[in-house]
Amino acid sequence: MIECKNLTLSYKDGNRENLVLDNVDMQINNNETIVLLGPSGSGKSSLIYLLSGLKNPTFGQIMYDGVDIEKYNSKQFSDLRRKKFGYIFQQHFLVPYLKVIENVLVGAPKMSNTYRVKAQQLLHELGIDQYMNKRIFELSGGERQRVAIARALISEPDIIFADEPTASLDHNTAVEILKLIKKYKESTTLIIATHDTSILDGNESIVRIEHGKVIRDNNAESLSTLKNQTS
């Protein structure tokens, strides 16, 4: 479970304060899928960075399973990110000089045969095991994003943070990729930021960010109204 209290983030813009997140209180339960929606510049990425500990808030508290992340030292927090979190970004950020399977193994918390076998299985299930020993530049955009997904999944993370994972893909590929991510989420919390509501299937909890405030609604109707609004 992730919780945040009074989470505030502001940037100094000259002598003006740019308040990106304003006293956000939120609770995300285990195995929940959260979709962060909001216009460009509303603070979706910022919230993901804060919740995943990649950025420090100006003010406020973040807790994993009831423990304040301030309590972790840097080594413990690195360990937490390496073992319990999975990251998928808009860009794949794969290591260009490593083979596909090696890139997947980069996400493993440690190197062992078990993870090697797991990497192969993931690539198979994501439909790209034929590229296992290829370099990244030999793959298409969608294939690269699948490799990035396999890399995020190999450690069987408790929480997956995905910041616009499908933004660089066409609609059909995007829907497919999202399905793949969700397929692995039986025991995983998924926090996903996106512009594109058309790829959602209604089983997600929607969190809207507007003017630094977070509005959360759990019913599917709001998604359909939202879909109607945007399309």
Partner: protein
């Protein structure tokens, strides 16, 4: 999570892919990026090795030239005198530290050992004294025989023979070859072998001139002085105290002091060259490396985001650069060895000389390049990395 697919075979994952990151991986997969550094390092290490070997060889040829002087010392009459000063003779004869005084004459053969050319000193004395002298030198007659008393015969060390391309029974000297340092003409009747590179005869050209002019040759012209065991330095001290107007002394110390100045300047030049090469090289390699690692910001950013520790990345970078340097060093070193081997085989060995590759200073002089280059490369990269956090890299806000 349930994995339905478990029949994946080992065959599908050839090679060692257990560790995605290793010291050799980056430059192995990005050969062109490391190539420039690699080549520059190899060439400079090879060049420094060669220079050091050449300079060592000058030192060695000096050692060859002075080797007999570690066994005996020479006292000759001063240049204007026909004979040794009687007071000097008396002084030497009464010195109890001296084991044997051999009346003799000396001359030289100009050789071209290694890089530094030098004249090798030879001794003319009667056969029984020559036997004693060669015994002290640990030299033996390898082929032919010793010269007979009162003849124009000499026995020459085999390395001189090789160097000069002389054959047994050949007549040598400046009478037959004007470029030869050895005055007169002699017939080679024996070949010597052993640690002292020298030659011996029974009657020098000067002694022949004395006889021709009716001068007495029973009076000593020059002495080869052999000290009693353990008294070598004491005897040399006594010899050095002789007034230069009375006699000309050649011993190990005087030769060394004469040559030290020129060796000192050679050594300073060598150190200067190595320093200059190392620094210029390190700065250029450092900037090349900085560019290469700047291009890898994405890679390091994502690793940091995923929970890799900075120390892991620092170590990875250090290992990569260190390995590149060590491998270049090893190849440069081998290349230099190969070149020296070829030089020896085709040029030096046929002359009876040899370039010695393995010496501590070749090692030291070349090793400072990879060490300094690694340090110069790693520091700016690490200081850049220290300031970076994963978000600025991922969002590209630099």
């Amino acid at each position: 999570m349930i994995y339905s697919y478990s029949s994946i075979t080992e065959r599908q994952t050839e090679g060692n892919i257990l560790k995605p990151f290793s010291a050799l991986k980056f430059f192995k997969e990005n050969k062109r990026k490391g190539l420039m550094t690699f080549i520059v390092l190899i060439l400079s290490i090879c060049a420094i090795s060669l220079i050091t070997v050449m300079i060592n060889s000058i030192h060695e040829s000096f050692d060859v030239y002075t080797q007999p002087l570690t066994k005996y010392s020479l006292v000759a009459g001063s240049t204007s005198d026909l004979y040794l000063n009687q007071s000097v003779v008396d002084k030497l004869k009464s010195d109890t530290d001296i084991e044997r005084l051999i009346p003799c004459d000396t001359d030289g053969i100009n050789t071209n050992f290694s890089i530094g050319g030098s004249a090798v000193v030879g001794t003319f004395a009667n056969v029984s004294n020559l036997k004693y002298l060669l015994g002290k030198f640990n030299d033996v007659v390898k082929e032919g025989r010793l010269p007979k008393n009162n003849t124009d015969e000499i026995a020459v060390h085999q390395r001189i023979m090789l160097n000069k391309n002389w054959k047994l029974e050949q007549i040598v000297g400046n009478k037959v070859d004007s470029k030869e340092f050895l005055s007169g003409s002699y017939k080679i009747v024996g070949v010597l072998d052993g640690p002292a590179i020298t030659f011996v005869g029974t009657q020098s050209n000067r002694e022949k001139q004395y006889i021709k002019n009716g001068l007495d040759i029973t009076k000593p012209i020059e002495y080869a002085v052999f000290a009693k065991p353990g008294k070598f330095d004491a005897v040399n001290k006594t010899l050095e105290s002789i007034n230069v107007n009375d006699a000309t002394v050649s011993d190990f110390n005087t030769i060394i002091t004469q040559s030290n100045d020129s060796f000192a300047s050679i050594n300073t030049t060598l150190i200067g060259v190595i320093l200059a090469v190392t620094i210029i090289l390190s700065i250029s390699i450092s900037s090349l490396m900085y560019l290469i690692y700047l291009q890898r910001s994405d890679e390091f950013g994502i690793l940091l985001a995923m929970g890799y520790r900075k120390s892991f990345i620092y170590r990875l970078i250090l290992k990569e650069i260190l390995f590149l340097n060590i491998i270049s060093w090893a190849i440069g070193f081998l290349l230099a060895y190969l070149l020296i081997y070829l030089l020896n085989y085709f040029v030096y060995n046929p002359q009876g000389s040899v370039l010695n590759f393995f010496s501590v200073n070749v090692f030291e002089n070349t090793l400072c390049i990879p060490i300094v280059a690694t340090i110069f490369s790693i520091l700016p990269i690490l200081s850049k990395m220290r300031k970076q956090d994963p978000i600025t890299i991922i969002e590209r806000r630099d």
